[in-house]
Amino acid sequence: MSQLVLRLKAFGNSELAWRFRNSPPVIFAAVALIALVFCAAAASLIAPHNPFDPATLNIMDARLPPAWIDGGSSTYLLGTDEQGRDILSTIFYGMRVSILVGIAAVAFSMTIGVALGLIAGYLGGWVDTVIMRLGDIQLSFPTIMIAFFIDGVAKIVMPIGMREEMRFYVVILAIGVADWVQFARTVRAATMIERRKDYVAAARISEVGNVRILLAHILPNTIGPVLVLATLGLGVAILTEAILSFLGLGMPPSQPSLGTLIRAGNDLLLSGEWWISLFPGAALVLLVLAVNIVGDWLRDVLNPRLR
């Protein structure tokens, strides 16, 4: 316990913390990010309504404006959409989906990328060639094209009833698959340097297995840039999901993300019911902006070349 306190204190005195305290925009972004993530994570507890319990919806409450505008109701702070769902609550729930999709997609590409990067960098030879050539091919497909592919494949393999349920995973896959190459390249480069280091040789002499060498020795020494990449990738992943939604490949209306909400709101842009499209859009931009500011800052701070 006291060790934890000591460690926290040590962290508080570290350069990282010092630089954090001296960057007001980053503090602001971090606070906003924490607040948004909290609202998303606790959506089912703090959202005033549950927009995904269809039995509670009342179509008579549809298209109410925000509370402070004539005709608005204090029950629905930011108004309601065409189905009578509370906009504030759908934003909380939608943000949860967006963040989950983003994190899962990044985790997916990170896992694949790091694993392949480690293997390619450590084994070298034809394994390396195959993996890296695969990466080149992968980079020849824009994310959107991959999403079209994966969407199509998913429709083949899944029975009709499951398509909507599995959509979450399909979207994660579609976004995640596209991004593994940059992780793999980063990790491969770092691995090729690390594997030549003597501590790896020492481990091998001590008859430590390859898997353990990769996971316990090399991985921790390559993970720094990976985490920065992941933070920056999170913003991109959330944005990509929104773009896929716009093209009809994102999350379905039954479990909408912010992107789905914006797409639905897009049709109402000219209708005068601006709150249905504006608020989810603002939430998305704020979320991605906060993620990017924090990620950007981390990259600057953790990049040894910029010290």
Binding site: D53, P54, Q83, G161, P253, D267
Partner: protein, 521 residues
């Protein structure tokens, strides 16, 4: 270089200004693109509607959607299966060729050739014989009541022109002989094709030599496809186009509220409904098929707050309907068009009676973008069904996939809409969606409603010339289908056409743009 550029810009601007002052140009935008200038290559309403200004059939629909003579001046039946048509004299194609019986026969052979989308339409015809240059005799394979209706959608081409460009056959995708008709077409209609860039724009100009009296004053029509709803409405609001078909209901108020803009409304022939698998023993995820029970179907029906949908989602641009037939169609029987009331308690009682007091899980499939606000209606339905304990699991499908999977019988509970185009008769509707699937009948009723009496009446409706008997049979079919809840009817969509108030259009229930009735200030 710079000066040259300026000059170029100046002249082009000036040119535009002059032409705008002199000629009446109607700039028109819609979400779809014309499939082809070949009127026999695609049997799809939007294309037929637009190129119906270029080509004409033997007969045509007038403003009131009644059949009137077009390229045929008159006709008579020689027997139950023999018709004589007297063709209009002095009609010229856009290229100056005279219109004769040979063109009709050529167009019959072309449109009826194997692989043509129109082969089915012309299937009742056994043959066409030329009596003289302006008289033909048509022999039918059997008695058929809807020949004239079908003929309104079958356009006549110039034999000589078609042969000169090598487009004797429609739609030959393997050899691309239809390629010549992508950007050009010669008909007899009120407008000529001036230029066409697929997916960019198509320009039509008035046919000065049209045989009919010119009611319209439009010199030029510029058609631009704009797929995105919001962009299309924005183009109208910004004055870049004068006319859009289908302003989305949510934008109607905005268009009406903009000075110089107007919305023209009309009920559409299309009725939207939920179709149901009533034949399978079990539904996916269940050990029974609740939809086979008429009480369950009625319970779902009564759980749907159709007025709520009308108000919130359709913004009053719909008419809740009880039978699958628009009032604008002949043989419509208003006394049957009475819905079961929206009544949650009654719905729950029916479910309880049928043994589903606790509800059940229902897979539900909807197209995304085929019908007006289809997605929102389906979502609202999920909420409404939840209130009586039915957990609908909604899947949205891209239309191309939906239209493939639905006839294959892959869906249990699905949204569909049917208008009865281009025949404009109840027969088209009921033969496709009421008949037990057999052969070519009931293709859009997979595993669906099945009633022996209905199946017996449908072929008779197709062949009966006597209007009173037809009325009786159609009413009987409609009543049976309604009472047995063969489909869960929702509403009849409204057409909401947005346009500059300079445009004076007519909005027919079949959604066709008949520009020869339009004028502009």
């Amino acid at each position: 270089m710079n000066r040259y550029l300026k000059l170029l810009l100046l002249t082009s601007c000036a040119g535009l200004a002059i032409s705008a002052a002199e000629a009446k140009t109607l700039r028109f935008a819609e979400s779809q693109e014309i499939s082809s200038m070949d009127p026999h290559a695609a049997r799809e309403d939007f294309t037929l509607s637009l190129i119906g200004n270029v080509y004409e059939g033997l007969v045509r629909w007038n403003k009131e959607l009644k059949i009137e003579p077009a390229l045929a001046e008159s006709w008579e039946t020689l027997s139950d299966t023999q018709w004589r048509f007297h063709l209009r004299k002095g009609v010229e194609f856009h290229n100056g060729n005279p219109f004769t019986a040979d063109d009709v026969i050529f167009s019959y052979e072309r449109a009826g050739s194997p692989g043509s989308p129109f082969a089915g339409l012309l299937e009742p015809i056994a043959g066409i014989a030329k009596v003289d240059d302006h008289t033909i005799d048509i022999t039918l394979k059997r008695k058929y009541a809807l020949l004239l209706n079908d003929f309104a959608g079958w356009y006549i081409l110039d034999k000589e022109f078609q042969e000169s460009i090598g487009a004797q056959k429609p739609l030959d995708l393997s050899t691309n002989t239809g390629g010549a008709m992508i950007t050009q077409g010669i008909g007899t209609g009120p407008f000529k094709v001036a230029s066409r860039e697929p997916d960019v724009k198509t320009v039509f100009v008035a046919n000065e030599k049209w045989w009919d009296k010119r009611e319209h004053n439009i010199d030029e029509i510029v058609y631009t496809p704009i797929a995105n709803n919001a962009t299309r409405v924005a183009a109208l609001l910004s004055g870049e186009v004068d006319f859009i078909r289908n302003a989305p209901p949510q934008d109607v108020a905005r268009v009406e509220g903009t000075p110089g803009m107007q919305i023209m409304r009309a009920p559409h022939l299309r009725n939207i409904f939920y179709g149901m698998d009533q034949q399978s023993k079990t539904l996916p995820g269940l050990d029974s098929n609740p939809l086979a029970d008429v009480r369950v179907r009625k319970a779902i029906y009564q759980a749907i707050d159709i007025d709520g949908i009308k108000r919130s989602i359709m913004r009053d641009n719909s008419r809740p309907s009880a039978i699958m037939m628009a009032p604008q169609l002949p043989f419509y029987d208003a006394s049957l068009d009475v819905r079961f009331p929206f009544d949650i308690e009654a719905s729950k009682a029916l479910l309880k009676e049928a043994g589903y007091a606790d509800g059940f899980t229902l897979p539900m499939d909807c197209p995304a973008g085929s019908f007006i606000n289809d997605e929102q209606i389906c979502q609202a339905t999920v909420g409404m069904l939840a209130k009586v304990g039915i957990k609908a699991q909604l899947t949205m499908h891209p239309p191309v996939q939906f239209d493939t999977e639905l006839p294959a019988g892959k869906y249990s509970f699905y949204m569909l809409g049917w208008a009865g185009l281009p025949t404009l008769d109840a027969y088209n509707i009921i033969s496709a969606t009421f008949h037990t699937p057999t052969g070519d009948l009931g293709a859009w009723n997979p595993k669906g409603y099945s009633n022996a009496r209905v199946d017996e009446l449908i072929p008779q409706i197709g062949t009966e010339y006597d209007t009173e008997k037809r009325q009786e049979m159609i009413s009987e079919v409609m009543k049976l289908h309604r009472d047995e809840v063969g489909k869960i009817m929702l509403h009849q969509q409204f057409l909401t056409w947005g346009m500059s108030d300079k445009v004076h259009a007519i909005v027919p229930a079949d959604e066709y743009t008949r520009f020869w009735y339009y004028t502009m200030d």
